[in-house]
């Protein structure tokens, strides 16, 4: 974050697209690790934290947010060209985010709901993940991401190794915490079986069903879970809404919600 030369330190840049800023804030929320991380790297571009804006190329680019404007669709191409390793962080960047709910609606109707002068607003019909526009080296899931996974990812990338980030389901985390299964024992609809771990099975530990912040796990059986939800008395509309959350445009969840819509 300084203009003085720091030879040998890898340059990190943080870019924002359509998002809530929560995932990049995770870096500032890593209070115990922050001063160590910024000692190991050079923060070359991170507008949320610094006025210093150094030109690329960058060693690692962290991209938050989805693409929803023409300008951003062009900007991501420039960002990709400037970054040796490009990592997307969070559900918006990896799956289109909650704003991808527009993808099933007429976006012009949406604009009219929110804005008095629709002609001033320019936006794309779809909210799409970064990976639909440029090749991505690693996708870090979560809404928001887990800050310890972010620190692991940065350390691994600097060390040139594969990050240790599991792709199994939330159920595994629940078992490790010795939680009683809320779906089996109490009949609560829970997306845990089809959702990637990372949160530490937070919702089931707080007596509620998982709502899918980390997106689909590596091999999700959404058809079976849909059936299970029906047995619990959930309507098609309720099941559809469950899959249409913060990772609605991830293809496995998208197909599952569209299957409910057809019924």
């Amino acid at each position: 974050m300084s203009s003085e030369k720091k030879k040998g330190r890898p340059k990190i840049a943080v870019f924002k697209f359509a998002s809530c800023d929560g995932c990049q804030l995770s870096l500032l929320d890593a209070e115990d690790e922050l001063l160590a991380v910024v000692g190991a790297v050079e923060i070359a571009y991170f507008p949320e934290a610094t006025r210093t804006m150094l030109k690329g190329p960058y060693d690692i680019g962290l991209v938050e947010g989805s693409v929803i404007t023409h300008g951003d669709a062009e900007r991501i191409q420039l960002v990709r060209r400037q970054c040796k390793t490009l990592v997307t962080i969070g559900a918006c960047a990896t799956a289109g985010g909650i704003q991808a709910l527009r993808n099933w609606k007429d976006v012009d109707d949406f604009i009219r709901v929110v804005y008095a002068s629709p002609q001033y607003i320019s936006t794309l019909k779809l909210s799409t993940p970064i990976g639909e526009h440029v090749p991505v080296d690693f996708e870090l899931r979560g809404c928001p991401i887990n800050k310890l996974q972010l620190v692991e990812l940065i350390s691994a990338t600097l060390a040139g190794r594969k990050p240790n980030i599991p792709t199994y389901s939330v159920c595994i985390e629940c078992k490790r915490k010795a939680n009683v299964c809320i779906a089996v024992a109490r009949g609560i609809a829970c997306l845990g079986p089809v959702t990637q771990a990372g949160c530490g099975a937070l919702c089931p530990s707080y007596d509620r069903g998982c709502y899918g912040c980390y997106g689909p796990m590596e091999t999700p059986n959404t058809a079976s879970l849909t059936e299970q939800f029906r047995i619990l008395g959930q309507s098609n509309n309720q099941i559809q809404r469950a899959f249409r959350g913060f990772n609605a445009w991830a293809w496995q969840f998208r197909e599952a919600s569209e299957e409910c819509q057809r019924k």
Binding site: L25, R51, T52, I98, V113, D207
Partner: protein, 432 residues
């Protein structure tokens, strides 16, 4: 044409949350144009909340802002509870105050030390500042972490917590878990008093404006979730009357709507407004900390908001301690919230100022319509008004310094641009 025309421009405004730019045009000593452009892409939450169940609103609207998700969760659940006619357990009400204390501590510490203080001391960022003020920054990180610990305990995680629900919480902590945080908060209270001293030692530009301050006011408490909406010019209304008195305008240069008071124009929300209108409700510790540095209402210099935020840190720590010592878990974490048609409004005090939510629900509990007015869209017009006045004082300054000063003036408001569009680039034009 009298004098030269100059423009001040900042293409990407830093240390604010979200994406925006600034453009100021000066002709001689006169400011002829100020545009705070918000190009944060429109995500249109109010549209996709339609046809979702009311129980989803607090999780969905939290995603408007990663810095103040609790504010969104609190305005959402209070508006929906009003629509459903629910009464909340007093113990839950207390816990919600504690939850908000956590967010204020985390958010104010972030802004005071990491986003705003570097401007006063001439550093590009907090990392550069840490080289000369390591101890100050380390204390700030610890203070921020304590705020986050409260949020974590009640909500499961710092960003987009998962426990807030219509009717209460999904799970409430035990007495033991809450009491365990007391020593941390005692440290935080002392650190916040130091923050008031430290911020008051900064240098402040001489700049005062005649503001209409707008904040909640509650009979017995410094406001978080309840109270009437009042101003220093006689406004005194219930949340249900908000839209009769305020209006959102759609201007071409911004993806965020500008909110104005009908017939009166711009107004100011946030720490300055709360402090000036509710000084008498601050606990003794906060009043004493303010008095020690000679800070008394009305504070009309927006640059001094950094001291007021520190005073509010003292308040939030003292209030958190009070709640922690009184806390007895409620009989149930939440009251049942049956589907029922109705509509309700609520205003709560986000760290940056008032946040208004309105929902209409059908008989199945689905949302028919939603309206959300965040603090930054309410302050947006006021920020432009400040800049119009302030930039005229900077005519003789070198362009890069004038630009930095204007950025600092924007950061007085701790703007949250993701919120307001539902960011910032600064341009100061000064062509010869």
């Amino acid at each position: 044409m009298t004098g030269t025309t100059r423009t001040i421009k900042v293409d990407t405004l830093a240390r604010v949350e979200g994406e925006g730019s600034l453009y100021i045009k000066l002709v001689g000593e006169r400011v002829t144009d100020v545009k705070l452009k918000i190009f944060e892409p429109p995500r249109m939450f109010e549209a996709f909340l339609r046809d979702r169940h009311f129980s989803e609103a607090s999780d969905i609207t939290a995603r408007i802002c990663g810095i103040c998700p609790i504010a969104y969760q609190m305005s959402a659940v209070h508006a929906i509870e009003r629509a459903l006619g629910l009464r909340i357990d007093p113990a839950v009400r207390l816990l919600r105050r504690l939850f908000y204390c956590g967010e204020w501590i985390e958010s104010h510490t972030l802004h005071v030390y990491m986003l705003h203080a570097p401007d006063f001391l001439g550093y590009a960022d907090v990392i550069e500042m840490a080289r000369d003020h390591r101890e100050v920054v380390e204390k700030a990180l610890r203070l921020k972490k304590i705020g986050n610990r409260i949020v974590q305990l009640l909500g499961g995680r710092e960003i987009h917590p998962i426990s807030a629900a219509v009717g209460g919480f999904h799970r409430v902590p035990t007495k033991q878990q809450v009491r365990e945080l007391v020593p941390d908060l005692e440290w935080a209270l002392a650190a916040s008093c130091e923050a008031v001293q430290w911020t008051s030692s900064l240098e402040f530009p001489i700049f005062e404006q005649d503001y209409e301050f707008v904040a909640l006011r509650h009979l017995d408490e410094y406001p978080f979730n309840e109270g009437r909406l009042v101003s220093n010019r006689g406004l005194n209304i219930d949340a249900a009357e908000y839209e009769d008195h305020f209006q959102e305008l759609h201007v071409k240069h911004s993806n965020a709507l500008h909110s104005v008071m009908r017939g009166r124009g711009s107004y100011l929300v946030g720490p300055l407004a709360r402090f000036n209108l509710n000084y008498d409700k601050l606990p003794a510790a906060a009043q004493e900390a303010a008095a020690k540095v000679g800070l008394q209402p009305p504070v009309k210099n927006p640059f001094r908001s950094i001291i007021v935020r520190a005073v509010e840190l003292v308040f939030a720590c003292a209030e958190a301690l009070r709640v922690m010592r009184e806390y007895e878990p409620p009989a149930a974490p939440r009251v049942e919230a049956p589907n029922r048609p109705g509509s309700g409004q609520a205003i709560t005090e986000a760290p940056r100022g008032i946040l208004y939510h309105r929902y209409a629900l059908d008989e199945n509990g689905l949302i028919l319509s939603a309206k959300i007015i965040p603090p930054t869209s309410q302050n947006q017009r006021r920020i432009e008004d400040d800049l119009r006045e302030y930039a005229s004082h900077l005519v003789a300054w070198p362009l890069d310094e004038a630009t930095w000063k204007c950025e600092q003036a924007i950061r007085n408001y701790d703007p949250c641009i993701s919120c307001a569009t539902h960011f910032l680039k600064l341009r100061i034009d000064r062509d010869a």
